[in-house]
Amino acid sequence: MEQKSSLGLAVIGWLVAIVMFFPILWMVLTALKTEQSAFSMVPEFVFTPTLESFKTALSQNAGYWHYAFNSLFTSVMSTLIGLALAIPAAYAMAFYPSKRTDFTLVWMVSTKFIPAVGVLIPIFLVYKTLGLIDNNWGLIALFVGMNLPIMVWMVYSYFKDVPKDIVEAAEIDGASTLATMFRVILPLALPGLASTGLLALILAWNESFWSLTMADHNAATLAAFIASFKSAEGLFWAKMSAASVMTVAPIIVLGWFAQKQMVRGLTFGAVK
């Protein structure tokens, strides 16, 4: 009985994984094709791989490194700033809850229900006035705002998992609020904080809506890099795939290394 059902689960698991993975595989394959074969109506599975598209995408005028730097800078900065804001906020809510703490949490997450286009115009106008359009810090502010609710919520739940007795023991041992936070709670919540940071980094790195609308050239990220290969005429699928591969590769590599960490962090309370 059990054997059968776990076999069934394994089959379903593999199917889902293949369905999810196929587009990525196809993208990688396309990136290795010539433009002609990438455009071929009959999908070609067998072909002679070429790095031509990567070369074009990396060429000076395409400017991969410029976009990559912007992506890296905005996602790292927004993650650091996000953590710096989320940690104290979650700390207050977890350890000094008030009557409105639950409401605040729900309210924060509810801001995620608003579609980004819904606030595009007001934010665009505000940014225009402030001169934040096509500016790295403008994007960073948006990414921070975008990720903060999830970050606070996650950090909050990791803090909640720190046993209350331990926090009280530190208090009785003479620790100030700051000492309790830095010497007891943060070290204990470290795996959780790391997963929160990773998630924020990935979300910011992959962000495309704001990156494409609020940045033009100076602050443009890899999303714009990919989009720049789209053109009204000529063949561009292979080049665009190559650009996409170069965009997702760092995050996939990072995800690969952080896999264990991520699973541990994301399932923290659940597996206790």
Partner: protein
């Protein structure tokens, strides 16, 4: 070392919390310790023991009354500034620190010089016999070892007051008895005023210099173990202290102020210990401990309980029997080699001096003459 005074201390958790009750969790708590005294708080779960401890620690603000440590009113003082050490039921060790760092934590916060910290941690560790564990993390320790580390973390600070909230209840029975003795030894050695919470009356009796019996947030009696055993203030204390529990029979005091009659039991009350004159003709709750009942064949005995045995528990050194008398469950602790069986009709008697008399309505003990007790 310090004298701790609690005057009219009360705690009301208020409506802020979803489990809050209208009634106070602790009410009108009055107690003044001696310097270096070992006080045990005992009572059933939910009676307010932890709340009282947490108020002394400063983890919970008292909503009424005052708490003084060596005369200083600490009601407004934060937990970290009260110079109190606490041992938690869960031990609450810092999981990411070694045993050494757990013990050194409070001292390093106080900026005690490193060599002195090392000295003090090593001293405490050797007292508790945990020197070989200093480099380990808590998760690599057994329950008993964690318990020792928790104690070590408390004693290394040399605080004014120790608070221990059911520190042994996560240990198995054998270890618990050992640690009990060890904590008492430690207390003798260090002489720090200690509050110890337990719901186990045996633990309370063996450890406490004075015991505070609590129920529903109210102190029932504060006394030495002996006084609690021999002169309980009320039916609750009488039933709570001592194992097996005291037996109670509802009986009517005759006009002579002596004879007590129930349906199948009769007793002669002695007015030597408690004044009973005022209760002539009224119902009393008569208490007698299982260990004070003995088998008799003398049908004319002054104190007589008759019944049929329905439970026999041979424990080797003693044999426990239970019978139903006038609708009350009566337990008698008989000699180990008594040959009784279920269904036997037996007669039990006891010394009149062993009877505890309580007002049937208020459940308070009738006033005592001798055996002076200091009650709150």
């Amino acid at each position: 070392m310090a004298v701790v005074e609690l005057k009219g201390v009360a705690k009301n958790y208020g409506g802020a919390h979803k489990n809050a009750k209208a009634a106070n969790a602790v009410e009108n708590f009055n107690l003044t310790t001696r310097d270096g005294e070992f006080i045990v708080l005992v009572g059933p779960s939910g009676c307010g023991k932890s709340t009282t401890m947490r108020m002394i620690a400063g983890l919970e603000a008292n909503t009424d009354g005052e708490i003084r440590i060596d005369g200083r009113d600490v009601s407004q003082v934060a937990a970290r500034d009260r110079d109190i050490a606490m041992v938690f039921q869960s031990y609450a060790l810092y999981p990411h620190m070694t045993v050494y760092d757990n013990m050194a934590f409070a001292l390093s916060l106080k900026k005690v010089p490193k060599p002195e910290i090392e000295q003090r941690v090593n001293d405490a560790a050797s007292i508790l016999d945990i020197t070989h564990l200093l480099d380990r993390k808590p998760r690599a320790l057994s329950g008993g070892q964690r318990q020792r580390v928790a104690l070590g973390r408390a004693i290394v600070r040399d605080p004014q007051v120790f608070l221990m909230d059911e520190p042994l209840s996560n240990l198995d029975a054998m270890l618990r008895v050992d640690m009990r003795a060890e904590i008492i030894k430690l207390h003798r050695k260090l002489g720090v005023t200690t509050f110890y919470v337990t719901h186990d009356q045996t633990e309370a009796m063996t450890m406490g210099e004075r015991i505070v019996v609590m129920r529903d947030g109210h102190i029932q009696q504060i006394d030495t173990p002996n006084a609690l055993y021999h002169a309980p203030n009320n039916v609750f204390v009488a039933g709570f202290i001592g194992t097996p529990s005291m037996n109670f029979l509802k009986m009517t005091l005759g006009g002579d102020g002596k004879t007590l009659t129930g349906q199948t039991a009769r007793m002669v009350a002695s007015s030597e210990r408690q004044s009973i004159e005022a209760h002539k003709g009224r119902d009393l709750m008569v208490g007698v401990r299982p260990e004070h009942l003995v088998l008799t064949t003398d049908e004319a005995a002054a104190n007589l309980i008759k019944g049929e045995i329905d439970v026999v528990e041979p424990l080797g050194s003693v044999t426990m029997v239970q019978l139903e008398v006038d609708g009350h469950r009566i337990t008698a602790q008989l000699e180990g080699d008594t040959s009784v069986r279920m269904g036997d009709a037996i007669m039990l008697t006891c010394d009149s001096a062993r009877l505890h008399l309580f007002d049937a309505e208020t459940e308070q003990a009738l006033p005592r003459h001798e055996h002076r007790t200091e009650t709150a």
